[in-house]
């Protein structure tokens, strides 16, 4: 389709001028910038002596939360495992030993190496049981070691709560719906 003459704009190259063609004034301005940067504060974070400042919603290692009585909050509803794009969560449900819940996870294994740390499980969980903490320097000596089971995940909870780096994040300070004790009316 031919281009209409009214749609075309001709833009002239701006003239460089005598001062520009001398090149030296521009080079001197450039050198001033270069030297100024030499004396500006450095942005390097010298790991491991200095730790980076992480944003509050940083997605690191998972943990399983406990409720006020110290029991695991997870009700083995499989929502996190279904939502996970990397299929790294393995749950085996069992009837729970406590009267106010139907199920609890007998086995809860997350393969931390398969995980892509997207946070979908955290978003999917209806009871705020699984959360991603701000621990990022995860190491292990074998692949088996990196498959975190329920105890390990609960221990991550204990450590991060004790360290105060990742406070418990529940909505509006209450446990959410599926974690509330069953009442006679529901």
């Amino acid at each position: 389709m031919p281009i209409a003459a009214g749609d075309v704009t001709w833009v002239e190259e701006p003239q460089i001028g005598v001062l520009g063609r001398l090149y030296l004034p521009a080079i001197i301005t450039g050198l001033q910038t270069t030297v100024r940067h030499m004396f500006m504060p450095k942005v390097t974070v010298e790991f491991p002596e200095q730790q980076p400042i992480l944003p509050p919603n940083y997605r690191g290692v998972h943990r399983l939360n406990r409720d006020e009585q110290g029991r695991v909050k997870c009700v083995a509803c499989y929502m996190c495992s279904t939502a996970c794009p990397a299929h790294c969560i393995d749950i085996v449900a069992a009837p729970s030993p406590w009267p106010d819940r139907e199920k609890y996870p007998e086995l809860f294994v997350i393969d931390e190496l398969r995980c892509i740390y997207c946070g979908m499980c955290e978003e999917a969980c209806p009871v705020d049981a699984i959360e991603l903490t701000s621990l990022y320097d995860l190491t292990g000596l074998s692949r088996e070691e990196m498959m975190f089971d329920k105890e390990k995940l609960l221990s991550v909870f204990d450590e991060t709560v004790k360290a105060g780096t990742d406070p418990i994040r529940t909505k509006r300070g209450r446990l959410s719906v599926a974690s509330e004790p069953l009442t006679a009316n529901s």
């Binding site: 281009i3 749609d7 075309v8 704009t9 001709w10 833009v11 002239e12 190259e13 003239q15 460089i16 001028g17 005598v18 001062l19 063609r21 001398l22 030296l24 080079i27 450039g30 050198l31 910038t33 270069t34 030297v35 940067h37 030499m38 500006m40 504060p41 450095k42 942005v43 390097t44 010298e46």
Partner: protein, 389 residues
């Protein structure tokens, strides 16, 4: 002709070669540190206090790395190329003074030059540094690699183009001095103290020489031959370990040699008001320090320029050498010849040089060239196509 003593020459050679190679290694450290500071980061600071042992780690790495010789290279040329690079770079240093050179007869007969009294000083340096082109061409050709060859060809074109302004810009200084001997050039500048430095009489030549020497050392803004973004590695793509290290050492030795030359030719060498008159051992040490300080400030300047200017495109590079620098060097020489012929005071050259420089910029504006227009097609407010005509 000063008397020649074999032992002194050998000791000087050993000390200077050792010194140069160590300074080269530490120049890599300095370059990395300056590069880091300019980019708002800290440079190497893990190996030793403040990273000062980093060159040691780098040297060990180059020595102990696996030396790979690819299968289809021209073996002889492949091995000879880095050798030529480092040999010519170190050989050029033989006539460059690196300390006080006018020690009177009563003192110990020591000259801070490896080969004192060479009357063709400058010409020797230029001749030997021209041989570096061989190293690059042979390295690129023998690598049996398209990109290496392209890098080598570009580099050889760049080097031989910039040798001409390098030599011609110095001719004014040589005419003013009347001798090619580097020690005589320093002496002639020392005679008038700080106002005898050639920078006041030949600022344009200084600028031309500085630019040519940046091109000769293959440093930004003229480092197209080794531009990683364009030619992978250029002529040293196929080299590993120590051979690669030799190319690098050769480049840094050129940087050191040319920094010394700049200090010698334009800034009076070891001269500094107040230091020249000090005699004895203290005077020698002070002059040495002054010379080294001048040299290091040039090196730091080279490194800062690297992070200030963008790289020249190849046609811009060649155009600059042939169309701008050679005519300017010629005109500069003519001005010096006029001043010498009619015995005017050389200080006339200062305004004349500056005038020449500004006139060049003005003339470049009137040089016939069609204006570049950019065609922009817009439909509504969307820019659809852009073409440069």
């Amino acid at each position: 002709m000063p008397e020649f003593s074999l032992w002194i020459a050998i000791v000087t050679i050993v000390v200077v070669m050792g010194g140069i190679l160590t300074i080269c290694a530490y120049l890599i450290y300095v370059e990395r540190k300056i590069a880091a500071w300019v980019q708002d980061r800290i440079g190497p600071n893990r190996v030793g206090p403040f990273g000062l042992l980093q060159p040691l780690a780098d040297g060990l790495k180059f020595l102990l790395k696996e030396d790979i010789i690819p299968d289809h290279v021209d073996k002889l040329l492949y091995l000879v190329a880095p050798a030529i690079a480092i040999i010519t770079a170190l050989l050029a240093f033989a006539v460059v003074p690196f300390g006080p050179t006018n020690i009177p007869a009563g003192e110990p007969p020591y000259e801070f030059v490896i080969a004192p009294g060479v009357d063709i000083g400058i010409v020797f340096v230029f001749a030997v540094t021209s041989l570096t082109v061989y190293a690059i061409i042979l390295g690129g050709w023998s690598s049996n690699n398209k990109y290496s060859l392209l890098g080598a060809l570009r580099s050889s074109a760049q080097l031989i183009s910039y040798e001409i302004p390098m030599g011609m810009s110095i001719l004014g200084v040589i005419l003013l001095t009347g001798s090619l001997n580097l020690e005589t050039i320093i002496e002639q500048q020392v005679r008038h103290g700080i106002w005898g430095w050639n920078i006041w009489y030949q600022p344009l030549a200084f600028l031309l020489f500085l630019t040519s020497v940046l091109a000769e050392c293959n440093r930004l803004p003229f480092d197209l031959p080794e531009a990683e973004q364009e030619l992978i590695g250029g002529y040293h793509t196929e080299y590993s370990a120590l051979k690669f290290g030799m190319f690098f050492l050769g480049e840094y030795t050129h940087v050191i040699t040319t920094s010394f030359l700049l200090a010698t030719l334009f800034f009076g060498g070891w001269d500094f008001p107040g230091v020249t008159s000090v005699g004895g051992l203290l005077g020698i040490i002070l002059k040495l320090i002054v010379f080294l300080l001048k040299m290091s400030s040039f090196i730091v300047f080279y490194m800062l320029i690297r992070w200030t200017l963008p790289r020249f495109r190849f046609d811009q590079l060649m155009g600059l050498a042939w169309k701008v620098m050679i005519p300017l060097a010629l005109l500069n020489l003519v001005c010096v010849m006029v001043v010498k012929e009619w015995d005017w005071h050389p200080l006339w050259l200062l305004p004349v040089s500056l005038l020449l420089f500004v006139v060049t910029a003005v003339v470049a504006g009137w040089w016939p060239r069609p204006p570049k227009r950019v065609l922009t097609v817009t439909r509504g407010h969307e820019r659809m196509e852009t073409a440069v005509s």
